[in-house]
Symmetry: C2
Subunit: 347 residues, 2 copies
DNA sequence: TTGTACGCGTTATCAT
DNA sequence: ATGATAACGCGTACAA
């Protein structure tokens, strides 16, 4: 009942361990009947090679690590699917790893690197925050996908790549779109000032739009989500919007920095007996599938996740094969107009 | 630039490897200044212990493995959060692993078991399909969470535990609820006959409801999702509903075996210019958060994921500490009535 | 074609 | 408090 090893299999079959090893790794140079015998023994005993021991010895291992901060976030789902396929197409294996809220992504990456003999690493989510220092210790190329390059500093530019949209710019466009509909009293729901969060970037874009028209931003129209719960959750959008509605501030449009927040916002508005978009226009950011199915359809900035995912993998392999140095690729977002925004009614 | 090991650190500090190892693992029996020196060297070199080598030698390691089939499925998100916290409370570490669509969950489990010296395994999603044979080779307790125990056979009863709702029974209740609203022409959107899928189970519950009233099931009202895309996706619900609407069959209610399908269905109905629930009632199954935020709110069977998650971890530790043998726990679902269902209008 | 023996980086055991 | 050394399970030269 104790753990069975390659040695046991070898003994059972009366062969050397190397022969078993050859069978395990699909080497051709082994007798047909010997192979049969070994295969049978493996099946019978339910023997499974110890991956730790393998990785310890192995030198090749064509693996790409994908580390996700907040695997719980449905935003990444479509990306994972595509990345998985693309990596597969290159005959590499994918190692998907969850980074806990309390874990340091760089630490996990470091650990995974020599544990699995990775050839490259992709980060999904996670801010490239304080960890950027540790990233230097990684010996394989690193790409942050979906992380705006605008948040990284000069030192970091050469240490890793990024593939994303320009969060700040797109947020400005979206705000301008609302302005062009006649809206002036535009509230924004965003994340509390974390130095490099998308919430912060998109808020900056919002400010840019106002600045460009020389309109001062009404700071009372900036609403921060509840820090005590999942920041970008539907529930948080709901509660924050309730705060907006009970604030007595005049608001004809709400810019939610995330689609999920927007859905919560729309529910709150409906529950308050107001109409969308007639009474209040709502827009989100990200272009999640659910927004297209919501009622009303959500106006949002659609991130081209297909392209971003594909380009991420492509760039990574360029990096691995030294065909390129670190780059910072920006894809344009697409304003996807739904039914949740409308021209402001003149009073 | 080559990989730095514990030996290098030991040499740098002029100490033995065991001393370094002690520092690494937080053993108390090491001199203060020696420890300082070693810590400094570690920080300076960016040395990270090789986890494979560790796991190879380690005997203890209090780890629980959580294997998710379809990590892309937002249904599991709230479960993961809770399970993570509960495991943490027991001072165990959580190893979260994604099981690819093509991988065999049992194989992954086997591999992970001796790779990480797991003490127990939790499966989320994944059908306990053909793999049940291999499960015997696992030496640590296994629990399937969210998998109905009704699909397992006598042999399996003692080989692993399950914690779930009774999919079939709950589906019957939901169907009865629709019947009690006066609906007779109730279509169902489900997954094509996979032996143990929840889609199949819930369809059986649907049949049960009809059988109990001695009403024959109109087989033409059973619609199967498109197999060529994600089975339980919103998009699939949308398309399948379009097929329903263009089928010329009279339908006053649609039972979608999943909330996500239901949301797609509602969008399709709205797009066809029909009203929900006046023209067609829609209900889902699962009780996902998004259903409560949708417009109209979705009627569904709410699975008590909190309880299921907590009980799963509790049972697992009972199993680990041999306080219990394998059990099959059923939690009742809760009929959550939203605005998407209504009494059938008499013709 | 097959077997032997060494090394991968770490922890545990036993000395010191 | 610290050091030397034997496993841990496997892959792979190298020998046979």
């Amino acid at each position: 009942m104790s753990k069975i090893t390659i040695v046991d299999i070898a003994n059972m079959c009366g062969v050397g361990v190397s022969t078993v090893s050859r069978v395990l790794n699909g080497h051709p140079d082994v007798g047909a009947k010997t192979r049969e015998r070994i295969m049978a023994a493996i099946k019978e005993t339910g023997y499974v090679p110890n991956d730790s021991a393998r990785n310890l010895k192995r030198t090749d291992a064509k693996c790409i690590g994908v580390l996700i901060k907040g695997i719980t976030n449905p935003f990444f789902s479509p990306m994972i699917d595509i990345i998985e396929k693309e990596i597969d197409r290159q005959k590499y294996a994918l190692v998907l790893r969850h980074v806990g809220a309390d874990e340091d992504e760089a630490d996990v990456a470091l650990e995974l690197e020599n544990e699995k003999r990775l050839r490259g690493i992709i980060f999904l989510g996670g801010g490239a925050e304080q960890s950027s220092g540790k990233l230097k210790n990684l010996k394989v190329p690193v790409i942050f996908s979906t992380i705006s390059s605008s948040v990284i500093n000069e030192e970091e530019v050469k240490e890793f790549s990024t593939v994303s949209v320009d969060d700040r710019l797109e947020a400005k466009h979206l705000t301008q779109y609302l302005m062009n509909l006649g809206h002036k009293d535009i509230a924004i729901i965003t994340e509390a000032m974390l130095r490099r969060s998308v919430g912060h970037l998109r808020l900056e874009g919002y400010r840019d739009a106002f600045a460009e028209r020389n309109i001062p931003v009404d700071e009372d129209l900036i609403f921060y989500v509840d820090q005590n719960m999942e920041h970008f959750s539907t529930e948080n959008g709901y509660r924050t919007t309730q705060r907006i509605l009970s604030s007595n501030k005049k608001v004809t449009a709400i810019f939610c920095v995330t689609d999920l927040l927007a859905i919560g916002a729309m529910r709150a508005i409906a529950d308050a007996g107001l109409r969308i978009p007639e009474d209040i226009s709502v827009c989100g950011f990200d272009g999640m599938e659910i927004g297209r199915f919501y009622n009303p359809r959500l106006t949002t900035i659609k991130q081209p996740l297909d392209q971003i995912s594909r380009e991420t993998v492509k760039l990574l392999f360029d990096l691995i094969e030294s065909r390129s140095s670190h780059r910072h690729i920006i894809f344009p977002g697409e304003l996807s107009i739904g039914e949740s925004t409308i021209k402001r009614y003149e009073d």
